[in-house]
Symmetry: C2
Subunit: 199 residues, 2 copies
C-alpha cells in the first residue's frame, strides 16, 4: 500500500529532486502546499513556469534577464569598457548589491571543470573573447569563485587575454571581514599573509 495518496507522493517526488531538498523537507513542503490557499499555489506554480518560459540570456553579458539586453548593459552611465567576469547571475547580483562597481559584467554560466568534462567551450568563454574583440575594453576583472574550478578558469582566461594587451585583474582573496581567524582554512590564511598591505 502507498503510504501517501498518489497526488502527495507525486508532489513529494517532484520536490525532492530540487537542490538542498531531501525527502523530509519535501514532505514538509508538500503538506504546506496542500494547506495553502488555492490561489497562492497557482501563483507559485505560475511563477515557476513563467520564469522558465520567459527568461532570456542578455545578448551582451549573458546574464539571465527578461529582455534582449539586461538593465546593467542598457545603463549608459556605466563603464562598458570595464568587464567583470563572474560564474553566474547570482554572483553578478552579489556585486551589484555592493553598489560599488560601475563597470559591466560577463556571465560565464559555469567554470572550467575537467573532472566533470566542462571545458572552456562549454561555458560562455568564446562569447567573452568575441566581445573583447568588438569592445575596446580597458580592464577585465576576473571574479570567478575562489574554488579550484574558479581559479583554473581565472588562470585560463588571464592567459588568453593578457597577450592582447588588455589589463587583467583578479579580485583579492583573504580573510573575510568579520571572520574569526581560528575558523578560517590554511589556504586562505596564507593567501591573506602573502597579500598583506602596509598600514
Amino acid at each position: 500500500m502507498e503510504l501517501y495518496s498518489g497526488y502527495i507522493s507525486r508532489l513529494i517526488g517532484e520536490l525532492s529532486v530540487l537542490p538542498g531538498i531531501g525527502n523530509k523537507s519535501a514532505q514538509r513542503l508538500a503538506f504546506h502546499i496542500i494547506n495553502m490557499p488555492k490561489d497562492k499555489v497557482e501563483n507559485l506554480a505560475n511563477a515557476m513556469t513563467e520564469a522558465r518560459n520567459n527568461i532570456k540570456y542578455c545578448k551582451e553579458c549573458f546574464t539571465l534577464t527578461d529582455n534582449e539586453i539586461c538593465p546593467v548593459c542598457k545603463d549608459e552611465t556605466r563603464d562598458h569598457r570595464q568587464i567583470m567576469v563572474v560564474e553566474n547571475t547570482r554572483d553578478m547580483t552579489a556585486y551589484e548589491k555592493t553598489g560599488k562597481y560601475k563597470g559591466v559584467y560577463h556571465v560565464l554560466h559555469g567554470a572550467i571543470n575537467p573532472s566533470l568534462g566542462v571545458g572552456p567551450n562549454d561555458i560562455r568563454l568564446p562569447e567573452l573573447l568575441r566581445r573583447l574583440q568588438s569592445v575596446d575594453a580597458t580592464e577585465v576583472i576576473i571574479a570567478t569563485n575562489s574554488s579550484i574550478e574558479g581559479e583554473t578558469t581565472a588562470m585560463y582566461i588571464s592567459k588568453l587575454i593578457k597577450s592582447s594587451g588588455i589589463r587583467v585583474t583578479r579580485i583579492a582573496s583573504g580573510v573575510p571581514v568579520g571572520g574569526e581567524l581560528e575558523n578560517i582554512d590554511e589556504v586562505t590564511l596564507s593567501r591573506a599573509l602573502d597579500a598583506r598591505v602596509e598600514l
Copy 2:
C-alpha cells in the same frame, strides 16, 4: 534598479514564503528551476496545483487522501475498533512505516495551543468524539507529539474519553533507540527513568 529580472524576483518571492526556505535557498532554487528542462518545470508546477486541488480529507479518519475513504480505513483486515490519534498525516505515515500497527487512525490536524488560540474545536476533536459514539471502540491510543501542545491535547482527550469507559493509552516516551544519553534533554531522561521496566 531591480537586481534580478521581474520573473526571477517574483519566483524568488514566491519560493521564500515556503517553510524552511530563506532568501538564499529561494535564490538557489529559482536559478535551478530556470535551468531545468521546460517539461520538468511543468511537471513540478502541475504536481503542486493538482495535489492542492484534488486532495480530500478521509471521511472516517480525516487524513489527507485522494478518495472519500483512505486506504487504511478501507482495509477490512485492520482493527477498526483500535484508534490511534495523531496530529497530522505525516505522523500517521511515520507509524504506517513501522508496519507494526494494525488498527486505524484519527488525524487531528493540529494540537491544542492556547497561546496561538487553537482550542479543542479548532482541530478534528469533535469529529473524534462523534466517531467514538458510532464505532464500538476498544482502545484509543494517543500518539500526539511529546511537546507541550501534544501533551496538553493528550491530557484533554484522555479526560474526555475515559468517562465513557473506553481504554485510553499514550505512546511511551523515553530515550530514542540509538540515542546517546549525553545528548538527551533532562525531561526525557527523567521520564525514561520513571517508565523503567524490569529486565
